[in-house]
């Protein structure tokens, strides 16, 4: 066997190894999306007009938008200008981490359900319910304790409240699926609309801050919000919250991989009949996993309330839906969620910078996100490309997936 052969074998095995493959494919998806995004920026740049002085020139043609600048701003901006010397933890980087923290929780929420074979589109609603409950109950709690003691008591309390209410709301589609055979995709979509309506009603009425024109609760006192450590408080980011997120990742990983309950969940997700055969109570697992999934969503709501806004306000940003994309990019793997959440955190936070620093419409980032997910969905595409790269001489792959002419197989 020649050395080239050996390298080829090694590469082949690398490509086949699923974790490595996932990472390779995700990176390739990101790169390809950026490339396509750049093309889109250039094309869009031809569709608008601008002064020749403000245009950039590539291949001898003038474009109004500069893709290099866009991606420079998107990534470096989101990372808080790591190369310009003035990096500070209080900068845009903490916005990135703030978004990451929230996306970790919604991502875990979706990922957990996915692992149980359930498509939870309802994280958004669960987040709203958890968030409102947290705001309301922590406010009550703040009447009882305050100061440092308040922080120590109220933050965990708020998280638990978010988890409980998000979990309860998540259990509704769980129960409906387990006992009424109702498709969870439908029920969770409906429950999102319902959560929006009900929280708007409550926060515009019973729980409304009489002082504010907005539909929001009374702001939480400072001690009932996440304390800022290291990172400047201006960006509503708390390292403590991020630590909770990392803890949650570890917890879910442990749950899935090292506990019998996690095994039950994974088995149900992959092959419900086999799970049933293996003594897994299918109905209970459905309810339990959607409840737990909802709990993560609820905690995301609690984080949003106690870290970002300091109150609950109607018109919750779409973290729940972003959680779906995070989870997909992560292959529904809790550890992967950390990286995917960071990537989407960068994209979300970078969007502001792009919008601020360029004339390119920020919706570009939305397109990028879609493209990334699209490419992640088609690993086969990269495998085919990969095979061509590894073995350029190979004939086109036959429809049955077999190689033509593999005489060196022996």
């Amino acid at each position: 066997m020649s050395a080239a052969d050996r390298v080829r074998r090694l590469l082949e095995r690398l490509v086949a190894a699923s974790a490595v493959e996932r990472i390779l494919i995700s990176s390739a998806a990101l790169l390809l999306s950026i490339l396509l995004g750049a093309v889109l920026v250039l094309v869009a740049g031809r569709m608008t007009t601008c002064a020749p002085s403000s245009a950039v020139y590539y291949f001898g043609t003038g474009f109004c938008y500069d893709p290099v600048l866009v991606f420079d701003r998107l990534f470096l901006g989101a990372l808080g200008e790591p190369f310009s010397g003035g990096w500070s933890p209080a900068g845009q980087f903490s916005v990135t981490l703030r978004e990451t923290t929230l996306l970790i929780f919604t991502g875990l929420s979706v990922a957990l359900a996915f692992r149980a074979g359930i498509f939870n589109i309802g994280t958004q609603g669960q987040m709203a319910v958890g968030g409102l409950a947290t705001a309301v109950l922590v406010l009550r709690g703040a009447d009882v304790v305050s100061g440092v003691a308040g922080t120590i008591v109220l933050i965990p309390f708020g998280i638990v409240v978010g988890a409980v209410f998000g979990g309860l709301y998540g259990s509704i589609p769980g129960l409906l699926k387990a006992y009424a055979d109702a498709n969870e995709v439908i029920t969770t979509i409906m429950l999102n609309f319902i959560a929006t309506g009900v929280t708007l009603y409550l926060v515009g009425g019973a729980f409304k801050d009489p002082e504010s024109a907005a539909n929001q609760t009374v702001p939480l006192p400072e001690f009932a919000q996440f304390p800022t450590v290291l990172f400047g408080g201006r960006q509503d980011f708390s390292l403590v919250a991020l630590a909770c997120g990392v803890l949650a990742i570890g917890g879910l990983y442990y749950l899935l991989e090292h506990t019998a309950f996690g095994y039950d969940i994974r088995t149900s997700g992959l092959q419900p009949e086999a799970a049933e055969y293996g003594g897994v109570d299918a109905k209970r697992t459905v309810v339990a996993s959607l409840t737990l999934s909802g709990a993560f969503g609820g905690v995301a709501g609690a984080m949003y309330v106690m870290m970002v806004l300091g109150k609950f306000q109607s018109g919750l940003p779409a973290y729940g839906f972003d959680g779906i994309t995070v989870s997909i990019l992560a292959g529904n793997n809790p550890v992967g969620v950390a990286f995917a959440a960071l990537l989407f955190g960068v994209l979300k936070s970078g969007t502001t910078i792009v919008q601020f620093a360029t004339d390119v419409p920020p919706q570009l980032v939305g397109v990028l996100r879609g493209l990334i997910i699209l490419f992640v969905a088609m690993p086969e595409f990269f495998r085919i490309v990969g095979r061509r790269v590894i073995d350029p001489g190979a004939e086109p792959v036959a429809t049955d997936g077999g190689h033509a002419g593999g005489s060196d197989d022996e």
Binding site: G279, V280, G401
Partner: protein
């Protein structure tokens, strides 16, 4: 006589597998040709090449003396070749007529509509011509397996097939249905059609075929005349070594009642009564066999017993305890092992590796999952034990179940369940789709368990298996036990009648042949049995 089809030097490679290796194969027009071989020998692949599903890596296909290149089944169909696949290629919610005409619908209004009346008439006419009994308007999901098979054959005939390939057509049929099928094949050859059928079963090949070709490891090891060969000779050709076909079984030494079922009533998915008032007892050290045509309630009975389906009435007791309302998990914990009918749906999680699969059913056990936490090192050792002791051919315990062959998956499941230290083993079709060598192995293990005082409930559609292994044999028909007989004292044809819901004449009961002999001679009183129609 001319050759209907000829395959010359066919080689077909898959990544890492040579499924067919320079196979020459030819079939005389108007004859029945059996293709015999172990699991994975390459039978299906060879026929798929002939049917245009796969292009051969090298080699030629000659039909009616003309060299052909098939890019798709469409080309093969045009050349007069029809194939009835191992798993039926039928669309369940569509009707018999719709299925038969699929892809070749008669049209009207310039193609804008299917000529539904015309299609129905064509189907009725075709069925009449070959004497097939099918209901053109029935939905596939509502008709019996035998009828589905007839639909498959009609489908091929409708497309003008002259050469029919049947892939393991008898695997799912009752002896009577098999007999009917062989009758159909005879009728077809009489009308000039050529038949190739694939089977593992030596007896069938010898009973129905004119010629027999044997494949082993992708190579053809020989073609023989059906009339001058023996079962032993064929088996040796297939496996490459001598095979013990008889089960050596010491007499039972039964103990206490392990499981008892009384007045059990179970409904199926559609709410139709599937098990109707069944009662039986099963003792330690005893194998109770259940024979019956698929779909007579065996699956539902097993599911109710194992805790996968709630019964509508009756009780199930395990070691004296009423477990009727207990969950599946409780039953596992009480010492019930279960080899499920459908290994790839229930028995293993295809995407899990063997370590994870070794845990299935034991995840809450004190040994592997103490206090809700999984002991992975222990589980790995357990998996490796199973792999070693049950001769599971796999690169390692970290291999996903889906990349094991079916037979090896089955061996793994058998190993896992037997290693549970069970009080009761429920084995449903434990050797379905498994090759001769592995069958032997699994049978031996079952008998070992029996000797160790385990109670075994054995369900199989293979009569020779249940007959050979069971101490008592219950025959199930339309949800009830028609009779419980001594398997050694009952002939296959008597069993066939019982399976059709009839009590054989008292006089017949006496002459008990050995099971193997019964298998060898084609059942004779199929006509009598045909009266008992299946639901």
């Amino acid at each position: 006589m001319s050759k209907a089809v000829r395959l010359e030097g066919i080689t077909k490679r898959f990544p890492g597998v040579v499924a067919n290796d320079d196979v020459d194969f030819e079939v005389e027009e108007g004859t029945v040709h059996a293709l015999l071989g172990e699991n994975g020998a390459g039978k299906t692949t060879l026929m798929n090449v002939l049917y245009g599903l796969y292009g051969p890596t090298s080699g030629r296909v000659v039909v009616d003396g003309e060299k052909r290149e098939f890019d798709s089944p469409r080309d093969a169909i045009d050349a007069g070749i029809g194939m009835i696949h191992q798993h039926f290629m039928l669309v369940d919610p569509m009707t018999v007529t719709e299925n038969i005409t699929l892809g070749n619908e008669p049209r009207k209004w310039g193609g804008l509509a299917v000529d539904r009346k015309g299609a129905r008439e064509a189907v009725v006419e075709l069925a009449d011509r070959y004497g097939f009994d099918v209901d053109p308007d029935a939905r596939i999901e509502d008709v019996s397996v035998g009828e589905q098979q007839r639909v498959e054959i009609l489908k091929a005939l409708y497309r003008g097939a002259d050469t029919l390939i049947l892939d393991e057509p008898t695997a799912v049929l009752t002896p009577q249905e098999i007999e009917e099928l062989f009758g159909v094949l005879e009728e077809l050859t009489a009308q000039g059609k050529t038949i190739i059928f694939i089977t593992h079963k030596l007896g069938e090949a010898m009973a129905a075929a004119d010629e027999i070709s044997v494949l082993r490891d992708g190579r053809k090891v020989g073609t023989v005349d059906a009339s001058d060969t023996t079962r032993e000779g064929l088996a040796e050709l297939m496996v490459g070594r001598e095979v013990l076909l008889d089960v050596d079984r010491p007499p039972a030494d039964t103990g206490d009642v392990v499981a008892s079922v009384s007045d059990l009533v179970v409904d199926d998915d559609r709410g139709v009564r599937a098990v109707d008032d069944v009662s039986f007892e099963l003792r330690a050290g005893e194998i109770l066999g259940i024979a019956g045509v698929d779909g007579n309630g065996q699956s539902e009975l097993i599911e109710a017993l194992t805790g996968l389906r709630p019964p509508d009435a009756g009780t199930v007791r395990l070691l004296g305890e009423d477990v009727t309302d207990d969950s599946r998990r409780r039953r596992i914990e009480a010492g019930m092992a279960y080899i499920p009918e459908d290994r790839q749906e229930r028995g293993v999680v295809m995407d899990f590796d063997l370590v994870e699969n070794a845990l299935l059913g034991s995840q809450h056990s004190p040994e592997l999952g103490p206090r809700g936490r999984i002991d992975w090192p222990e589980t790995r050792t357990h998996a490796e034990t199973i792999i070693d002791e049950y001769d599971v051919r796999t690169p390692g315990a970290a291999t996903p179940a889906k990349s094991l062959s079916g037979g090896n998956q089955q061996k793994f499941i058998v190993g896992r369940e037997f290693e549970r230290d069970p009080e009761l083993v429920v084995a449903s079709h434990p050797t379905r789709g498994v090759d001769v060598g592995s069958i032997e192995f699994i049978h031996e293990r079952l008998l070992e368990l029996r000797e160790a005082g385990v109670a075994v409930l054995l369900i199989s559609s293979k009569l020779e298996e249940v007959q050979g292994l069971s101490d008592r044999l219950a025959v199930m028909y339309e949800g009830d036990f028609v009779d419980v007989v001594d398997p050694r004292a009952t002939t296959e044809s008597e069993l066939g009648l019982l399976m059709a819901g009839q009590q054989p004449e008292a006089a017949d009961g006496a002459d008990a042949g050995t099971p193997t002999e019964a298998d060898e001679e084609a059942p004779v009183d199929a006509d009598a049995a045909a009266g008992g129609e299946r639901a």
